[in-house]
Point group: D2
Chain length 264, copies 4
């Protein structure tokens, strides 16, 4: 029943200055609004729609930036890992390791991540039902690590489209683990632009608000100062200068939701 | 930006006493909570899953009950119509005529309903996209009647299951017509019990709250004092004695949502 | 295990000459290929995407054309009915009455159709599972009429798209009634062009062949000499001059399928 | 336009004797029917629904068995790889490396697989449209390896269910690469039994026949002498003693399809 945490940052790391700029802005916005804040960014986009999509700065450079953000801004940092081998090293820097949706059933990755002792945020696969995530969480918990988060980011709905089923949030809450709404990926249109994914940025605040009203622990939002020229996920990222108003608005719904919890 | 209206009542009319009992309870609950109230009930379930499902009291008897509810409780009443021929007669009693989801593209029915001058609530077909409803509304509006409401009640999602896409609510709001969330039918499991539909009653308050947080005009909720023995839609109706707390809770979210409208 | 029947004709009746031209061509093609033939056309498109879509010649004029086709070409004729009132009159001319997919659960329509004694072809709703059609067929059969056909025409799959699940064909065969594949509507993209439906004509022969290979009783194909200028469903109709080769090809698969039936 | 190839074997390797028994049976069946044959089995089930599912014999032991099958039976062998590191070693034994559906967009895995020079069979993700696979194939082809196969294995369709869209087969054929139908996984019900996946074994021959009638290059079928006691995927595997009749039947449809190719 703690106030909402905001997990936010650019889709991918671009440079130290860029990461610091976004983290500083978001930390300020969240502090002012009374929200928790976790900086999020990827060092490698390992599953782009097509080979021509930019992959990112790489693990070494990325972890250095994340460490600097953590040090300078003082916020926890989250990044996603793609192989079992990356987990230990990433966990030296990151407070939260994230398991990408496509990889959410890869047992070795889940176990390696769990064994680091870091908090593990597993994104629900686009091909899974909400109740299937209990089995996924069990894989992580088998390592003795119960610091698990489960994230809704949309379910396949026909071709090149996702739908976010609000029932999934309280359903996943039944596990007892904190539940996160990924407001920007759930409005992604995978492969929707042929060689890259489309998105419906305008609906991200809609998904965020609906989910926050249900009493979730955290909201995940990708943001960029110029989404349309960002190296990835531009069509669904929220412009950085709109984040303050968005978070302020969400916190009002969060207070109401936390005071009147949904009970299934 | 008026306060939320609650459209509520039993799935089907059972008797005058039963209708009055529910309408009186709901009118009281809504008045106390500051919500508008419309009594809803059907005189004929014209498309039951199987032939053995009870159809209801019929049009003549049903309209008499609805007139009595309107007269005695003083609230507007809504019922659904199934053929063009029924519209004029139903409109003599009812403030709002409702077009069932399966029939939402039947041109003659939409025109006949529109021509009555009553308000027309069209349920979005389980087979339609939210943006398709603009064409549907245009059919009604072509009669010169612009008192139109559009209702989300879930979209086909695999077999025997619906999903309610929150994006559909602001998408339909673009038409300028009031948008309604049908919280109990959107958690229906059509045909899910073989000879009848199943439902997930426990998720109806979830859908209602998520939708109300987006600033919708009205919420539609079927209710019964003993849902498990109701003649239809028992698995998704809300017990009548839980409606007060539910509406109270929703009004807090409604006030917040109306003060901070979603703008696409 | 009789040879495949082809139900084919234009989406809507345009004129007597037009109907005769198509029926004559199709009857010749089917006779040559060893297929049964039923002429299909609608006198009223009662649920167009938008109000501006052409509705057709109307019931009186339409039934006259159908009677003339039946008389002159000597083939059975099929048309779709939209209200209970239309059934008796349509059955005076038509050998098969068709229940549109959106209306496949409207009890009164199914009963009125059944009571005519005509064969009744019910299209499976885009919102139904294949096994749900047993309840639908039971409604018709309750009238004592067991001359029932069940037609697959695609299931809602995300927005503005259908998918035809091949499992549905043998699943519906379990009822014992003849099963029909509607090859042209199952590649429709409902509402896909905003004010009208789109379609993927090129995939209709794909759906037809896959279905025929499973041993279905009949295939339903809309055809037109100039689909791109047809008053409705142009995007998914097959050009008339391609029907001969298509039917010839299908009959080879039909013979193989009938010699080696699928047994669930 | 070569005759159909059958890719068949148990879901997971159990022992050398077991693998040889199945490969010998299938090689005989396919030779008799005039079909090509590739032995398929997994050494590691890396993404089981739950942690308690058996994972398999491991890579070292598995590759030894596969080498022995290849040597003794004389057929090509296929196995699936889960990390970039496994590719080179697996390719020393295997003729075809298979990319699991969940991993079909993992760029490093696709590149590492492609670089081995082995044929690469990529299963289409349950979350992808058929046309998205062109981008996936391009990733493999960027290594200079154009020996690529694309496999349909079903698309997410609501929760715990897949649907196989027949349009996807000719759509993927547009890439010019051979297209495979995975008849047993496309009738899987992912997570459908809570801690493991369910399946509809009885529909696998339905999917196989429909797909073969469209002229695909190969059909993928998991088989076991006692599916109900198999360590994984029992609910959708075909009993080994039914494979002969199934393949015989499919070859008749294959000959017809290859003689009359679908042209989009």
């Amino acid at each position: 029943d703690r106030p909402l945490t905001v997990i936010a940052g650019p889709c991918q790391l671009e440079s130290l200055d860029h990461a610091l700029m976004i983290a500083r802005h978001m930390a300020g916005v969240c502090a002012k609004a009374g929200a928790g804040y976790v900086f999020k960014a990827s060092y490698d986009k390992a599953n782009r729609t097509s080979l021509t999509g930019k992959r990112g700065v790489g693990m070494e450079a990325g972890l250095k930036i994340l460490a600097a953000v953590k040090d300078e801004i003082g916020c926890p940092v989250l990044t996603d890992v793609h192989t079992a081998e990356q987990c230990a090293q990433a966990a030296e820097v990151c407070d939260i390791l994230q398991i990408p949706a496509f990889l959410c059933r890869q047992t070795d990755l889940l176990l390696a991540a769990g064994e680091t002792g870091a908090a593990i945020n597993v994104k629900k696969g686009q091909f899974l039902a909400p109740w299937d995530m209990a089995n996924v969480a069990d894989k992580v918990a088998s390592t003795g690590n119960s610091r698990i988060l489960l994230t809704e980011r949309g379910t396949s709905f026909g071709y090149n489209t996702l739908v976010a089923d609000m029932r999934g949030l309280p359903e996943m809450m039944k596990t007892g683990y904190p539940v996160v709404m990924d407001a920007t990926h759930s409005v992604q249109q995978p492969g929707g632009q042929g060689g890259s994914s489309g998105g419906q940025r305008e609906f991200a605040p809609v998904m965020a608000r609906a989910a926050v009203s249900l009493g979730i622990a955290a909201v995940f939002i990708e943001t960029h100062e110029a989404p349309d020229t960002a190296p990835s996920d531009g069509p669904n990222m929220i412009p950085l200068d709109q984040m303050g108003a968005l978070i302020d608005g969400l916190m009002a719904f969060d207070r109401l939701a936390k005071a009147d919890p949904i009970r299934l």
